[in-house]
Amino acid sequence: MVAASSPRFLVPKIAVVNTPSPAPAFLRFRKFRFAAAYTSTERPRSPYVLSAPASLYEVLEIPMGATCHEIKIAYRRLARVCHPDVAAIDRKEKSADEFMTIHAAYSTLSDPEKRADYDRKLFRRQRPFSSSSATSAYTTAASSPIPRFSGHTRRNWETDQCW
């Protein structure tokens, strides 16, 4: 288990995209803003930098050494706040993105194999720009010019073409 203090993770501002697991792949299609705890400390965002939390552990607001049980508890706690079904009315659209981020973090960290894999990558990433520079170029380029979903929140049968 890699044990490091969390402030170190704040250094790289790019989310990992080159994991072989399909989970974080959708990051390409949106700029996402992160959950409740982070909205208060809004950082200025340029369209070319993903203002993501630096690690999946930060997404779930847990230490790196968290047990599987703690991960599940954190996931459920965040789901209770961020899931679109329970989120406040004015946050419905963002909450879907937030919840997907949380779920992606959870699905990686709750699977022992994926977590070990991720931990190795995270460890490598802390040594500045050894292997990750190529990744970051790819990510930043991919992240913004693609149109974002407008995300209507409700189905409307009157305009539904499918009759």
């Binding site: 080159n18 072989p20 399909p22 792949a25 959708f26 390409r28 299609f29 949106r30 599940k72 508890i73 954190a74 459920r76 706690r77 789901a79 209770r80 899931h83 679109p84 079904d85 329970v86 009315i89 419905k92 909450s95 879907a96 919840f99 997907m100 779920h103 699905s107 292997s131 190529a134 990744t135 790819y138 380029a141 991919a142 010019p145 693609i146 149109p147 979903f149 407008s150 995300g151 209507h152 929140t153 409700r154 189905r155 409307n156 049968w157 539904d160 073409q161 499918c162 009759w163």
Partner: protein
């Protein structure tokens, strides 16, 4: 100056298009439309309450009879006798017919019903007709369901003394998105707005989560996680779900389901008792309909009796001179329906496998639905889960509607001071969603049992040199080949810059939001730049209409393979 007699609601409130759903203050009711029975429940402020009709029934038969000009459904209709449902004038089992094309085996199995089901096997909706004054009058499953829903709505409005607009309906796991649009359409016809369509076992899971929450009284998020296997088998469908529950959060780990149920068991037994049933009944004459009704009633009765006793004697007159007189024991009955039971086993195995859960880790086995009374079904489920007792805290016939009512209250934004509504269902997609690529292959983009809301994308490329256009054909299902899956829609991407095949990157993204709306987003980007060449397209699915059995063939005939695309092997190692 006089006070205005009424107040004008501001435009933003009346048009309310972009208003979120929870702006409605009313509590949505939960409706469980079963293949054979149906019920309505609502959160009454402290608990879930089932509504009763004027005859004091909590569960009403799902049928609509067309006697004269005005159809009447099982909510208000007073039957002279059981036989009346089977006289040809009543339409039932609409849940097995809705949204299916006439090449579907489930539609073909409906040919022995007393009303007329006429599949032409060409991939359109089947003709369905009821007998009104000696005339077969055509109708549609949506219309029948709408008539039924209107009655349910009227019943609820009288009892709750308010207008009902929002509903949560339960649906089978195996319903395609096209079928879901048919349910929504029937609701719209009845003036109802669908807040959620919940897969039946997930409604049961929500009720289970609430019961666990109440018994444990634990702090949010803490406490141990409980895993439940929910097996729900009714007259028309069999569904399985595995849910992980803690602190009122029900996380659906996996779903599986199939159009198999009590109706299949009934049909098997009817065919066993009367081997030449299909040919005997093919012309739907008056006398045959009558015989068929008698056979159905006798067979149903025998199945019910076999749940309590090990053998049953069947003795009745078909009315046409022939008699059926014999005894049937449970072993014979179970052997007759071996395939049905094997299918159930398969669904449980698949669900456990998909959820990555060992049977030893399952804390509770929840058995619900009418068929859970059948000893073989109970034994099979309990045997597979390696335990003696099932979860007994809920009524097997009311669990789904209670869960729907809970979801109705939660989704309406109602909170309970005692915390009984601090609930959340994290849903999963029941079927894979993907597109046609690499010839006739189905390439999933969002796999089944993906947590919702979900968004996934995948890169494709052209199949020919200098290909300028590409066809995106969206399917839903589990088959490897597209024709085994449900077609949801299609659109064309144009303006691909001329290049060698395999060079342009066609990016296809699928997005399911929390209300289960599917959008497909696609466009061309040039490798290296990642900039879209032309504007991306965003299409809400499904877009196909009733003739969708024809669409795939028509596309093939029109375009052949010239607009094909292939999967692009992305170099992951950088």
């Amino acid at each position: 100056m006089a006070e205005p007699a009424y107040t004008v609601v501001s435009d933003s409130e009346t048009t309310g298009e972009d208003k979120p759903l929870s702006a409605f203050p009313e509590i949505a009711i939960g409706i469980d439309i079963g293949t054979s029975q149906c019920s309505v429940a609502v959160w009454n402020g402290s608990q879930v309450e089932l509504l009763k009709n004027t005859r004091n029934q909590k569960r009403m038969r799902s049928y609509v009879t067309f006697k004269d000009e005005i159809p009447s459904g099982g909510v208000t209709d007073r039957l002279a006798n059981e036989q009346e449902i089977f006289s040809g004038s009543a339409i039932f089992n609409m849940k097995r017919l809705i949204g299916r094309v006439d090449t579907d085996p489930v539609v073909h199995a409906c040919k022995t019903l007393p009303f007329l089901v006429q599949p032409l096997d060409i991939g359109v909706r089947p003709l369905i007709a009821s007998l009104v004054n000696n005339v077969w009058r055509a109708t549609t499953p949506e219309e029948v369901l709408a008539v039924f829903l209107v009655e349910l709505r009227a019943m609820a409005e009288i009892q709750l003394k308010r207008t009902i607009r929002n509903v949560v309906l339960t649906v089978p796991v195996s319903f395609s998105r096209f079928q879901l649009t048919r349910i929504e359409r029937a609701c719209a016809m009845a003036g109802l707005h669908v807040l959620r369509l919940m897969p039946e076992p997930t409604a049961v899971a929500l009720l289970y989560a609430q019961q666990q929450q109440q018994t444990v009284h634990e702090n949010m998020g803490s406490g141990s996680e409980k895993i439940a296997l929910i097996f729900n088998m009714g007259a028309g469908y069999c569904d399985v779900a595995i849910t992980a529950t803690a602190g009122g959060v029900s996380q659906i780990k996996a779903l599986s389901g199939s159009a198999i149920g009590g109706e299949d068991i009934l049909q098997n037994l009817m065919h066993h008792l009367l081997p030449n049933l299909d040919s005997l009944f093919s012309n739907h004459g008056m006398n045959e309909i009558k015989s068929m009704g008698l056979l159905r009633i006798a067979t149903q009765d025998a199945i019910h009796k076999l749940s309590a006793q090990t053998s049953v004697s069947i003795d009745f007159d078909l009315g046409n001179g022939s008699k059926i007189c014999r005894t049937l024991d449970r072993t014979e009955f179970e052997e007759l329906n071996r395939k049905v039971f094997e299918k159930c086993e398969g669904l449980i195995l698949q669900c456990l496998h998909d959820a990555k859960v060992d049977v030893e880790d399952v804390n509770d086995v929840v058995l619900v639905g009418g068929c859970s009374n059948i000893p073989k079904v109970r034994n099979l489920v309990m045997g597979m889960c390696k335990r003696e007792d099932s979860y007994l805290e809920m009524n097997p016939l009311e669990a789904a509607v209670c869960g729907a009512a809970l979801e109705g209250a939660v989704a309406s934004g109602i909170s309970d001071p005692l915390g009984s509504l601090d609930l959340l269902t994290i849903q999963a997609t029941p079927l894979s969603l993907g597109i046609r690529a690499d010839g006739n292959s189905f390439v999933p983009i969002i796999p089944r049992n993906a947590t919702m809301p979900a968004r996934k994308d995948l890169c494709f490329t052209t199949a020919h040199d200098n290909q300028r256009e590409a066809l995106i054909v969206v399917y839903e299902g589990e088959g490897k080949k597209v024709e085994e899956n449900h077609l949801l829609g299609y659109f064309k991407i144009t303006g691909i810059p001329p290049a060698l095949k395999g060079t342009p990157e066609i990016s296809v993204c699928m997005d399911i939001d929390a209300s289960n709306v599917l959008r497909v987003l696609a466009g061309v980007t040039f490798p290296g730049t990642q900039h879209p060449v032309t504007p991306f397209m965003e299409v809400r699915m499904p877009t196909v209409d009733d003739g969708h059995g024809w669409c795939a063939e028509a596309l093939l005939k029109m375009y052949g393979s010239i607009l094909d695309i292939s999967t692009l092997q992305k170099k992951l190692q950088l």
